[in-house]
Amino acid sequence: MVERQSGLTLLTHAVLLAGIAVVAFPIYVTFVASTHTLDDVVRAPMPLLPGHLLVENYRAVLTDGLRSAGGAPVGRMLVNSLVMAVVIAAGKIAISLLSAFAIVYFRFPFRAAAFWTIFLTLMLPVEVRIVPTYKVIADLGMLNSYAGLTVPLIASATATFLFRQFFLTVPDELLEAARIDGAGPLRFFASILVPVSRTSIAALFVILFIYGWNQYLWPLLVTTDEAMYTIVVAIHRMVAVAEAQVEWQGVMATAMLAMVPPIVVVIVMQRWFVKGLVETEK
């Protein structure tokens, strides 16, 4: 701030608080609704203070699911989402580290072709090629499996570019020193390159974990068996029940459970999150 103007400072805080209120209000209402009985929630206006059923409602959805939506336990869906998010994040990081290493530290025919093939993935999001991609997964027998949920999303141009940029800034002297000490390429990769990349890896992991956790269209297509649903997909199926009262208190408890893990990751790892976000877009 250049000069002091207490009126303006007051306005600044007021605008920020209003912004936070708008941002937080939907989450707050969700939380409140998840702690009441269905009767209280559906009677407009619903209460705006938390009720007493915090433990009961969450335990009910985690172990028994919602009767109106087929009764698949949400605990299982949380596990599916966790597996999907971790495998996608770790997989993208692993194969991107390897390809960036190949592109930066080797000279070989078709290097440019490989680079552009990876670049293509950026231009072909799932949303624009839904039907043929679904057909590939079906033909490979990967429907309703963790492999089907994760492997097709594992290619990553962004992560490859990020690591490539980073590797280019790693001093050549490190490689020369490693060579003099007799290290081969894989030894250099594992003992030097990966350890010096750890902040980039952490930053990328945060972004990719959220990306994997929040996937919607893909699990919607690939999973038909409710034992394989991810929590994000399940919520929609809970709301879209036909000919039955939507069990809003349970839906809202499930929504909280779907939001908490990625939000905790963002808040706890905020420094890496901002770094990852800004760097992957450069």
């Binding site: 250049v2 920020l16 912004g19 009677r43 407009a44 090629r129 901002v274």
Partner: protein
């Protein structure tokens, strides 16, 4: 930029690249080429015979009122989402940048909607605006405004725009803050000494210096509104009422999986691919990126 020191292996680099290239070819390039191929074919109603029809699927799309309607809906939707998410994020970022005390707390409280899945964000807003039990719909009713997005197409559009923008504000906020941190204090102080007040300094100095960030974010927001809001639309309105919120990505999904019209769905996919490629080229050519090969 090239490395001086490299490894002299012949086979190893291909082995290292194999996983990434394999996934890309099987799950990206092959399906995309299939979409391209199918967009030139037409199947009869029973899927027994396919014939080559050239660009007929594309011509049919542009004669189709529903498709042109979806184009218009997408344009309105992405323009509204971008405008709302960018303007509110800019205001919040400028304010957060001014704050001396408590800045970190404000920042933390404003960034986390980024972590909420679009489909979940949709359900949250759906609940708030549910015509019978939603708390906001109730409040609107109290002041005499009838809210029913299940019947009113404009209200349905407003609701998906709100939910989509709500989720994108934190992303824009982070980038605006980073952009604002790059505006030199010395320039601002010099302007203040010359008698420019806060508003004048924003218009004449801060905003022009933010324009690269702004341009970059406009492209990102359009991409977001086009391709990442499927979950919101699917969860909140299902494209309705009467196709009022049927954006292009949603239409591809509906025509491909519900309508099972492969040729037409593929033609739509090809058009969307062209849009993504166009936007990516714009992003790389005109927005400062560090990737050079």
């Amino acid at each position: 930029m090239e490395k001086r020191a490299v490894f002299p292996h012949r086979v190893l680099p291909y082995v290292l690249l194999a996983p990434q290239i394999a996934v890309t070819l099987v799950f990206f390039v092959w399906p995309a080429s299939q979409a391209l191929y199918q967009s030139l074919l037409r199947q009869d109603a029973f899927g027994l015979r396919t014939s080559f029809v050239g660009l007929e699927n594309f011509a049919a799309l542009f004669r189709d009122r529903d498709y042109l309607h979806a184009v218009a809906v997408t344009a309105i939707f992405s323009a509204s989402v971008s405008a709302l998410a960018l303007s509110s994020a800019l205001v919040l970022a400028v304010m957060a940048d001014r704050v001396v005390r408590g800045g970190r707390v404000y920042r933390t409280l404003l960034v986390w909607p980024y972590a909420v899945a679009p489909a979940v964000a949709g359900v949250l807003w759906l609940f708030l605006f549910n015509p019978t039990l939603g708390i906001v719909a109730f409040a609107l009713r109290q002041v005499g405004y009838r809210w029913n997005h299940l019947l009113n197409g404009d209200q349905a559009m407003a609701l998906v725009v709100l939910a989509a923008a709500w989720k994108q504000v934190s992303y824009n906020f982070i980038f605006f803050l980073a952009g604002l941190a790059g505006v030199g204090r010395a320039v601002l102080e010099a302007a203040a000494i010359d008698g420019a007040g806060p508003a004048r300094r924003f218009v004449s100095i801060v905003f022009p210096l933010l324009s690269p960030t702004m341009f970059f974010l406009v492209v990102v927001n359009i991409v977001y509104a086009f391709f990442e809001t499927f979950g919101i639309v699917h969860a909140v309105t299902g494209g309705g009422p009467a196709r009022a919120t049927e954006i292009l990505v949603f239409k591809v999904f509906r025509d491909g999986f519900v309508g099972l019209d492969l040729g037409r769905s593929a033609a739509q996919s090809v058009i969307l691919m062209a849009i993504v490629i166009g936007l990516t080229v714009v992003q790389f050519r005109y927005v400062e990126r560090k990737v050079h090969y």
